[in-house]
C-alpha cells in the first residue's frame, strides 16, 4: 500500500468531496421544496392532482438513477427543441444536468416519505383543527406539515445518506465529484486500491456528519418527547 500516494491525493480528493457536498446539498434543498407540494397533491382526493404525482413518483422510483442521468445528460441534448430553448445553457452543463436529475429523484422519494408521514399524523389532531374552523390550507401548514416533518425525519435521514452515495454517479457524466476525482487519479497512477479506500473514508466521514446532524435535528424538533425541564 502506497501511503505517500494516499496522503498526496488528499487535497484533490477534498476538492472532489466539496463538489459532492454542493451537488447533494443543492439537490436536497430543491428536492424538499418540490416534495412538499408533491406530497400534498399525492394525498389529495382530486384525481387530477394525485394521479400525475403518482405517475411521477412511480417513474423516478422505478428506474435506476444512472439511467435517469444518462437520459437527461445525453438524451436532452439530442432534442432540437431543447437545444433551441432558453434552457439549453443550463442542460448543456453536466453540473446542472446532475442537479436537475438528483433533485427530481430525491423529490420523488421524499414526497413518498412525506405522504406516509402525513397519513400517520394522528387523526384526532387533524379533527381538532377542523373543529376549530381552520381552513384546509391553514390546517396543513400549521398542524399537518410540521407534525409530518417530525414523523418523517428518520426516513428522510436515510434518503439523505442514499442521495450522498447515489451522487457518485455524477462521475459518469464527467463531473469531478469525490468519486470522479478518485477515478481521474487512478487513471493516472494505476492505484485503484489506495484511491478508492481514501474515497470510501471520505464518504464515511460525510455520512458520520450527516448522522450527527440528524440526531441533533431530531432532538431539537422533539422537545415534546423529552422529559420536561424542571427549572420553572
Amino acid at each position: 500500500m502506497d501511503f505517500q500516494l494516499m496522503i498526496d491525493s488528499i487535497p484533490q480528493l477534498l476538492e472532489g468531496a466539496w463538489m459532492t457536498v454542493k451537488l447533494v446539498a443543492l439537490a436536497l434543498a430543491l428536492g424538499i421544496c418540490l416534495a412538499i407540494p408533491l406530497a400534498l397533491a399525492r394525498v389529495s382526493k382530486n384525481p387530477f392532482l394525485w394521479m400525475p404525482v403518482y405517475g411521477f413518483i412511480f417513474v423516478f422510483r422505478g428506474t435506476p438513477l444512472l439511467v435517469q442521468i444518462f437520459i437527461v445528460y445525453y438524451g436532452l441534448g439530442q432534442s432540437e427543441a431543447v437545444r433551441e430553448s432558453i434552457f439549453w445553457p443550463f442542460f448543456k452543463e453536466a453540473y446542472w444536468c446532475a442537479i436537475f436529475t438528483f433533485t427530481l429523484n430525491t423529490s420523488a422519494y421524499t414526497a413518498e416519505i412525506l405522504r406516509g408521514a402525513i397519513q400517520a399524523v394522528p387523526h384526532g389532531e387533524v379533527e381538532a383543527a377542523r373543529a376549530l374552523g381552520m381552513p384546509r390550507l391553514l390546517m396543513l401548514r400549521r398542524v399537518v406539515v410540521p407534525r409530518a416533518f417530525r414523523l418523517a425525519l428518520p426516513a428522510y435521514g436515510n434518503e439523505i445518506i442514499l442521495m450522498l452515495k447515489g451522487s457518485a454517479l455524477a462521475s459518469t457524466i464527467t463531473l469531478l465529484d469525490l468519486t470522479g476525482v478518485a477515478r481521474v487519479i487512478v487513471a493516472r497512477t494505476f492505484a485503484p486500491y489506495e484511491l478508492f479506500i481514501m474515497a470510501a473514508i471520505m464518504y464515511l466521514a460525510l455520512t458520520l456528519l450527516i448522522v450527527r446532524a440528524l440526531k441533533y435535528a431530531e432532538w431539537r424538533l422533539s422537545p415534546h418527547l423529552r422529559p420536561p425541564r424542571h427549572s420553572k
Binding site: E125, R147, P228
Partner: protein
C-alpha cells in the same frame, strides 16, 4: 330542501336546532331521523347505550360528519347543504362551515391536543390564525383561561407531560379560547382514570354555570342530572325520550329509557 336562504328553525332552538338527521355508514343506519334543539344557556345532555349514535349526532352538528339528510341551525343560522348525487349532502360553502365551526367549540374523548405544541401554543393557535386576534390579546385570553382551569403553571409544558385530566382541561381551554357560542362535549371524561374525572367535571360545571350553551354526551348520569336543563335519551338512532332531568331520571315514560337507567351499564 327549500331554496330559501335562511329559514328559521321550525320548533325554536335559538342556539342549536337539528331536524330529521339521517346518517348511515355503509349499510349501517346510525341516525334514523334525529331532531333536537337547545335555547341559549341550555345545557343538554345526551345519554344512551353504546352505538346508539350519540357521537355521530354530535359530530354532525359541526359537520365533522356530513349527514345524509336533515337540516342544522347554529345560532339561528342554517348550514347550507346541497344534494351531491349519491354522496348525500355536501356543504354549499366551506367558508360558512369554517366560520360556524369557529363559533362551536368541541371537546373530544381523547383530548386531541396538538402534541408538537406547548399548552400555550395550543391555546393561541386558532385565535391568532382563525379569528385573526392580535397576538398579545390571544395570549392574555389564553392566560386567563389557563388560570381558570388551573393550568397556568403548565403553560410551557407539552401535552405528553400532562396527566389525562390536565390534558382534557387544556383541551377545554383551547375550545373556550375561541369564545364559542356553543360547546360540544363528546364523553369528555371517558378516557380518564377515575380519580381524574372529578377535576374535569368541575371545570365543565363551572362553564355551565356561566351560562354557556352546551351539549354533552356523557355516561356520568349523576353529573348529567345535576348540570342539565334538558336530557335526551337516544336509542338506536332515534330520540326515544327527552325532558328535564328530574322527569327523565325519576319518571321516564319510555320503557327502554327505564331499562337503560336501571341496568346502570353506561
Amino acid at each position: 330542501m327549500t331554496e330559501d336562504e335562511n329559514p328559521p328553525p321550525p320548533n325554536g332552538g335559538s342556539a342549536l336546532a337539528v331536524e330529521d338527521l339521517h346518517k348511515s355508514f355503509g349499510k349501517l343506519e346510525v341516525l334514523k331521523g334525529v331532531s333536537a334543539s337547545a335555547e341559549e344557556g341550555d345545557v343538554v345532555s345526551i345519554i344512551g347505550a353504546s352505538g346508539s349514535g350519540k357521537s355521530t349526532m354530535l359530530r354532525c352538528i359541526n359537520l365533522l360528519e356530513t349527514p345524509d339528510s336533515g337540516r342544522i341551525w347554529v345560532g339561528g343560522e342554517l348550514i347550507r347543504m346541497k344534494q351531491a348525487g349519491r354522496r348525500g349532502l355536501v356543504p354549499e360553502s366551506q367558508r360558512q362551515v369554517d366560520r360556524i365551526r369557529s363559533t362551536v367549540g368541541m371537546v373530544f374523548q381523547s383530548f386531541n391536543l396538538w402534541t408538537h405544541m406547548t399548552v400555550m401554543q395550543n391555546l393561541v393557535e386558532a385565535p391568532i390564525h382563525v379569528l385573526k386576534l392580535p397576538k398579545v390579546e390571544a395570549h392574555e385570553r389564553a392566560e386567563s383561561l389557563l388560570q381558570r382551569v388551573g393550568l397556568i403553571d403548565k403553560r410551557d409544558h407539552y401535552p405528553a407531560h400532562l396527566s389525562g385530566g390536565q390534558q382534557q382541561r387544556a383541551a377545554i381551554a383551547r375550545a373556550l379560547a375561541m369564545e364559542p357560542q356553543l360547546m360540544l362535549f363528546d364523553e369528555p371524561t371517558s378516557a380518564l382514570d377515575p380519580e381524574l374525572v372529578g377535576e374535569v367535571l368541575k371545570v365543565i360545571r363551572d362553564i355551565a354555570e356561566e351560562g354557556r350553551t352546551m351539549m354533552i354526551v356523557t355516561h356520568e348520569m349523576a353529573f348529567a342530572r345535576e348540570v342539565s336543563s334538558k336530557v335526551i335519551f337516544l336509542h338506536d338512532g332515534l330520540v326515544e325520550e327527552e325532558g328535564p332531568p328530574e322527569q327523565l331520571f325519576n319518571a321516564p315514560s319510555s320503557e327502554r329509557c327505564r331499562q337503560f337507567l336501571a341496568a346502570g351499564e353506561y
